[in-house]
């Protein structure tokens, strides 16, 4: 009887092993339109067939993503649909910014999943989520844990909590980054007390009047203009002369900083490094 029992067991095991294989296989051809999703996939050892890139992009990308086809992103659809279709992907990691394009992608038979965190905690949860979608759950668990540890380490021993204003320069009208924006959350996690004057907005950005800024008198101002890194001195000088800001503690104590990279605007996997930089350079805590 024993060989028969063994055979029976083997058959059952074989069937059980075959069942997951019979289910929908993990998507093979994946496009990662956001830097966070691209780098996370790289961290999971999954190579996408295409990654998104905005014009003038200076995003940090994992080295094993070199050579992957870059899809230029522009409003309103995101990537060029023909180029995307040519890659014949089964799955695209996208962002709500490209919602219009998501509709077309779905019509083309591509599954669309948003993977663009808007807060620091989101980087951990979305790492796990991506892992689940591409069926690398155990790798993702490890990656997520590592990320969690890195973030915790970056936040150790915060000594000061300066009152900070983070401003996005859109033309001549600046927008305040609120706690529910990526940059706002990063700066808060770095220990700052964000000045918002009680304004809320679902988008995470709001125009507040210069009078409010004057009254609030921040200790630190972080400005993110639309400019290149070589323009920083010029822009800093211009912003320093803004009448609403020139008498603030921040300007008088030389704590007006200009950031020209995307690190406070766009979520990425190097969030722990960004927190560290904010602490070291801007908040000095």
């Amino acid at each position: 009887m024993r060989p028969a029992k063994l055979l029976f067991l083997a058959l059952v095991l074989a069937l059980l092993a075959g069942v997951p294989a019979a289910q929908a296989a993990a998507p093979k051809r994946i496009v990662a339109l956001t830097p966070f999703s691209a780098n996370t996939l790289a961290g999971l050892g999954v190579k996408p067939v295409g990654i998104g890139e905005t014009p003038g992009d200076n995003e940090r990308r994992a080295s094993n993503l070199k050579g992957v086809k870059k899809l230029t992103l522009s409003h309103p659809n995101g990537p060029n649909m023909e180029e995307l279709a040519l890659l014949n992907p089964q799955l695209a990691f996208s962002s709500p910014t490209w919602a219009k394009g998501a509709k077309t992608m779905r019509d083309l038979g591509i599954k669309v999943v948003n993977a663009d965190p808007v807060d620091v905690a989101g980087t951990v949860t979305q790492t796990t989520m991506i892992g689940k979608v591409v069926e690398r759950e155990s790798s993702a668990q490890q990656l997520a844990q590592r990320l969690k540890d890195q973030i915790a380490a970056a936040r150790k021993s915060i000594r000061k909590h300066p009152r900070t204003l983070v401003v996005l320069g859109v033309g001549r009208t600046p927008f305040v980054l609120l706690p529910n924006s990526w940059g706002g959350d990063v700066v808060r996690k770095a220990g700052a007390r964000l000045i918002t004057a009680g304004v809320t907005s679902s988008s995470g950005f709001a125009r507040i009047s210069d009078e409010t800024i004057l009254k609030a008198n921040p200790d630190v101002i972080i400005a993110i203009p639309h400019a290149n890194s070589d323009d920083i001195p010029e822009v800093t000088k211009y912003l320093r002369n803004n009448p609403a800001w020139e008498d603030s503690r921040a300007v008088r104590n030389d704590k007006l900083f200009v950031s020209t990279d995307n690190s406070l605007l766009q979520a990425n996997t190097n969030v722990a490094d960004v927190i560290r930089k904010v602490r070291r350079v801007y908040l000095k805590n």
């Binding site: 659809n77 649909m81 180029e83 279709a85 998501a102 509709k103 077309t104 996005l168």
Partner: protein, 326 residues
């Protein structure tokens, strides 16, 4: 005859435009593959998908939108006896812009409703304009219609600008729509708006001869048993349907509706609506096909808005015709 020559030239232009629109794009596809895809002989795969699901619906949209705007402009210029009349004048463009921006910026989660929003508000604006124009003294007169149109267009335009100012960080997504242009969205939008195109074109066909009766003035039209006010109202309705449907697909495309009928009249030398209406459809399609193909290929893979390209093609042509006419 000049009239035949103009038709021949435009038909050739449309055919060339169709070919270019299907054969050219961000991805290089050999012409034979394009033909195979269209005739059902191509192997399934991304290239076939690009031709059938991205380029073909877009080409059809370009033809429909170009024809619709050309005909809408011709209808209004004939009905209002005013060479400056265009779909913008009856408030449709302003309303459609407001509706689209409302969805794009305030309710971005409902993005699938974009064509519906543009269509609804475009027709609403036109409806308000007609209601104002047909009430009170001098009801149905062209002057009243134009003034009401300008006022309502301004109202909805202000609404649109207010939304943009209230959500300035989302302005980018609306910019493309405002500049005017087609996007490779597949067939889903066309499925929603095709009935409005159909009804609008049907009204235009029915009004071709009646509009000629308005040519010598309302009194002569009445003498002939025509009803000038009814003709004007129906022209407005037809133009509104066509322009609202066009705006829901292609954003706020100005210029075409105003200039194409004039160009047709200048080139052919006739103002008869039985000629000008269909030929404006041809001219509009040709211009938009050319403009859209350029907009898609000039800086590929980035897609530019169509408006500037149409203007670059259309304005020199128009100025040339104008000089010869004078």
């Amino acid at each position: 005859m000049r009239r035949t020559a103009v038709v021949v030239v435009l038909v050739v232009a449309v055919v060339a435009g169709l070919t270019a629109s299907l054969a050219l794009g961000a991805v290089d596809i050999p012409l034979q593959t394009v033909i195979d895809a269209l005739t059902g002989n191509a192997d399934p795969g991304p290239l076939r998908k690009i031709v059938l699901d991205l380029r073909l619906p877009r080409t059809v949209e370009a033809v429909a939108v170009g024809a619709a705007l050309g005909v809408a402009g011709a209808l209004l210029q004939g009905a209002l006896a005013n060479p400056l009349a265009s779909p913008d004048v009856i408030g449709v463009t302003g309303g459609a812009g407001f509706g689209a921006v409302l969805i794009l910026i305030v309710f971005p989660g409902s993005i699938a409703l974009l064509p519906v929003g543009a269509l609804f508000f475009g027709l609403l604006a036109a409806g308000i304009v007609f209601a104002i124009a047909w009430a009170g003294p001098n009801a149905g007169g062209p002057g009243r219609l134009i003034l009401a149109g300008i006022a309502i267009a301004a109202l909805f335009g202000a609404g649109m600008t207010s939304i943009l100012v209230a959500y300035p960080d989302r302005v980018q997504s609306a910019l493309f729509f405002i500049a005017g242009g087609l996007t490779s969205d597949g067939w889903s939008d066309l499925k929603v708006v095709w009935p409005y195109f159909a009804v609008g074109f049907a009204i235009a066909i029915a009004l071709a001869r009646p509009l000629d009766r308005l040519a010598l003035g309302d009194d002569v039209a009445a003498s002939l048993g025509a009803r000038p006010r009814m003709i004007r109202l129906l022209s407005g309705v037809g133009a509104a349907l066509l322009a609202a449907a066009a705006a829901s697909l292609a954003g706020l495309l100005g210029f075409l509706g105003l200039v194409v009928p004039h160009a047709v009249r200048l080139a052919s030398g006739t103002s008869s609506h039985t000629y000008v209406l269909p030929v404006s459809a041809l001219g509009g399609s040709a211009l938009l096909l050319a403009g859209d193909t350029l907009a898609r290929t000039v800086r590929a893979p980035i897609e530019m808005p169509v408006g500037p390209f149409m203007v670059v093609i259309g304005v020199p042509l128009f100025l040339f015709l104008l000089r010869r006419a004078v």
